[in-house]
């Protein structure tokens, strides 16, 4: 390493502290442009006609031209797909947070035989790639008669979301102090009452983290709807997008506005809540 050290001093005149930070700053700016450019081009193109896209792909459009969006709204099932995505994601999240909190509360708050084994059972689901079990899942959904039914998606997403939720929330619940709980127990409050009125308000921060970690992959999922759902009126947004992109192959303005419209909800929420999003989505990998 002495070589590198000598070299450093040799180069210092050119690449001193300021120059080095300058280089890093250039890398960051270049990267940010690279990250944003595709999204900006997508949004710009959404307001252009097809010839405009081909002639000036980078030009700033007239944002009052919303005919592409009107076309999507009135001529396609887009709104249907959007509502389906809301329904499936909402129901799954409700189940994940309810069931996940229940399990984490039992494991984290009470000492009972087998608690650790049950926690391990939940955590086993963290590393298993469930995509590879799609054939048995397909057969299971058929046997439960919920193929081509949004319940199949809701059940799979709930099961997929529980391991990480139980993991995050058990850890959090264990750190909460006992005093409040003991005081309430002295006053004769039931276990259910203690959980509902005293502990639940305290676990809200962990619920937000667990919620974000699960809501993004569920909202964005394409694979399970592809296998489980055939009926067009039941398709979720990512799956519906494939139908939509197939119909309008030559009308690029409509294609780009479809992509923009699909991306808009999550981009807006992300920009507003970026800190929570980043914390939620990377929390599993950081702890």
């Amino acid at each position: 390493m002495s070589v590198a050290t000598t070299n450093y001093y040799d180069r210092r005149g050119i690449l001193g502290t300021l120059g080095r930070d300058g280089l890093l700053q250039i890398i960051l700016i270049a990267n940010t442009i690279l990250m944003l450019a595709p999204i900006v081009i997508m949004v710009f193109s959404a307001f252009k006609t097809t010839p405009q896209i081909f002639q000036s792909p980078f030009g700033i459009p007239d944002f009052s031209q919303v005919q592409n969006f009107i076309k999507i709204w009135s001529e396609t099932n887009f709104l249907r797909y959007l509502l389906n995505s809301f329904l499936v994601t909402g129901a799954s999240m409700l189940l994940i947070l309810t069931l996940g909190t229940m399990a984490a509360y039992a494991i984290g708050r009470y000492a009972f035989t087998g608690a650790n084994f049950i926690l391990m059972f939940f955590l086993a689901g963290l590393t298993l790639p469930l995509k590879l079990a799609i054939i048995p899942l397909f057969m299971l959904m058929r046997d439960l008669s919920i193929l081509n039914n949004q319940l199949s998606l809701i059940f799979v997403y709930t099961a997929m979301g529980l391991p990480s939720t139980v993991f995050i929330m058990t850890g959090f619940i264990r750190t909460l102090p006992n005093e409040l709980e003991d005081a309430a127990r002295m006053d004769g409050a039931s276990e259910a009452r203690i959980m509902w009125s005293i502990m639940l308000p305290l676990v809200r921060p962990a619920m937000v983290i667990a919620g974000i970690q699960n809501v993004v992959p569920i909202w964005n999922d394409f694979f399970f709807p592809l296998v489980f759902i055939q009926n067009d009126s039941l398709k979720t947004l990512p799956q519906g997008l494939t139908t939509f992109m197939g119909e309008y192959t030559t009308d690029w303005g409509v294609l780009f506005s479809g992509l923009t419209l699909s991306a808009a909800p999550i981009i807006i929420i992300y920009i507003v809540l970026s800190r929570q999003f980043i914390a939620g989505m990377t929390s599993g990998a950081i702890k």
Binding site: Y8, N31, L132, I134, E191, N220, M281
Partner: protein, 306 residues
């Protein structure tokens, strides 16, 4: 009376635990176990026929044309893994290091680098498919506009560039993830250590290789393992950008796509084989588990050592 209280509590705990446990047992544990069992049977459509032992495994590994398909998909997955290791995780490390310096605008750069990560893979796939269009896509138009018109080509339409074009889209989509995991690792390095190093040497290179890199080893273990598992599960991008058959000529075929095609591919054409599909699933699963364990233990050993 205490005895009664205990049962009441036991019931309460049971009531809390059983419903979530049922979901995980029914929709994760049972299907995973069945996936292994299914591989040993012959299937006709959705009907399970005879027990055939290892025949499905033998077919996908040694009988043509399955043998070449399996090898080709596996080879492509290896390419994807190493390419993303350099592009996505390598770039992620550099970006994390740049963000860690807290230069002006860091907050904005951090939000921008993670923005693509929250997008649906399907949106990313179609967006880049449009960008790569040979005539009207912005990639070729940009090349022409800066005088590199001879570089313009049908990116997704020829064997030489198709897989790499999809890999580039994937790197764009996900580079923010390793970046922020590495950044979190760097932010946990105690200030005293850095000050001590600063006294010893002013070389940035020494600082990165001898201090930062070893100290973010736990982040590296996680990021490499997730990348490995992700690369071998890769499905959505090649499915949309290369198509169900991994066109052109199988150059974008990967194990995830091949597995899906074998199991559900062309149901109307009668090309649905749950037995072969399950055998592939088991093989992919075992490779992932085995190699991921090796990666993790190797990297973990390095963590403790330093």
């Amino acid at each position: 009376m205490p005895h009664f209280r205990m049962t009441g509590r036991g019931l309460w705990i049971t009531a809390l635990i059983v419903p979530p446990l049922c979901f995980v047992a029914l929709f994760i544990v049972y299907p995973i176990i069945s996936a292994f069992a299914y591989a040993f049977f012959d299937w006709q459509g959705l009907r399970r026929l005879d027990f055939v032992g290892l025949e499905n495994f033998h077919t996908v590994l040694f009988v043509e044309p399955y043998r070449s398909w399996t090898l080709n998909a596996f080879k492509n997955n290896i390419i994807v893994f190493f390419a993303l290791m350099v592009l996505q995780n390598g770039l992620g490390f550099i970006l994390a290091y740049a963000l860690w310096r807290e230069l002006p605008g860091t907050r904005f750069h951090r939000i921008a680098v993670f923005l693509p990560v929250v997008l649906s893979t399907i949106i990313v796939a179609y967006l880049f498919k449009l960008f790569y269009h040979p005539l009207f896509g912005v990639v070729n138009i940009s090349l022409k506009s800066i005088g590199l018109g001879e570089w313009a080509q049908p990116w997704l339409g020829q064997s030489g560039t198709a897989l790499w074009s999809i890999i580039a889209a994937q790197a764009w989509h996900m580079v923010g993830f390793p970046t922020l995991v590495f950044l979190a690792g760097m932010q946990r390095i105690p200030g005293e250590i850095l000050d001590a190093v600063r006294m010893e040497t002013e070389s940035e290179w020494v600082k990165i290789t001898k201090i930062v890199w070893p100290l973010v080893a736990p982040s590296a273990t996680i990021v490499f393992t997730l990348l490995f598992v992700g690369a071998f599960n890769w499905f959505e991008l090649p499915y949309i950008m290369g198509g169900l058959d991994g066109s052109p000529f199988g150059s974008t075929d990967v194990l995830g796509l091949y597995f899906y095609r074998t199991a559900f591919g062309n149901v109307s054409a009668g090309q649905q084989d749950f037995g072969l599909g399950s055998a592939l699933a088991v093989l992919i699963f075992i490779s992932i588990a085995a190699i991921a364990t090796v990666i993790t233990t190797r990297l973990r050993a390095r963590e403790i050592q330093l």
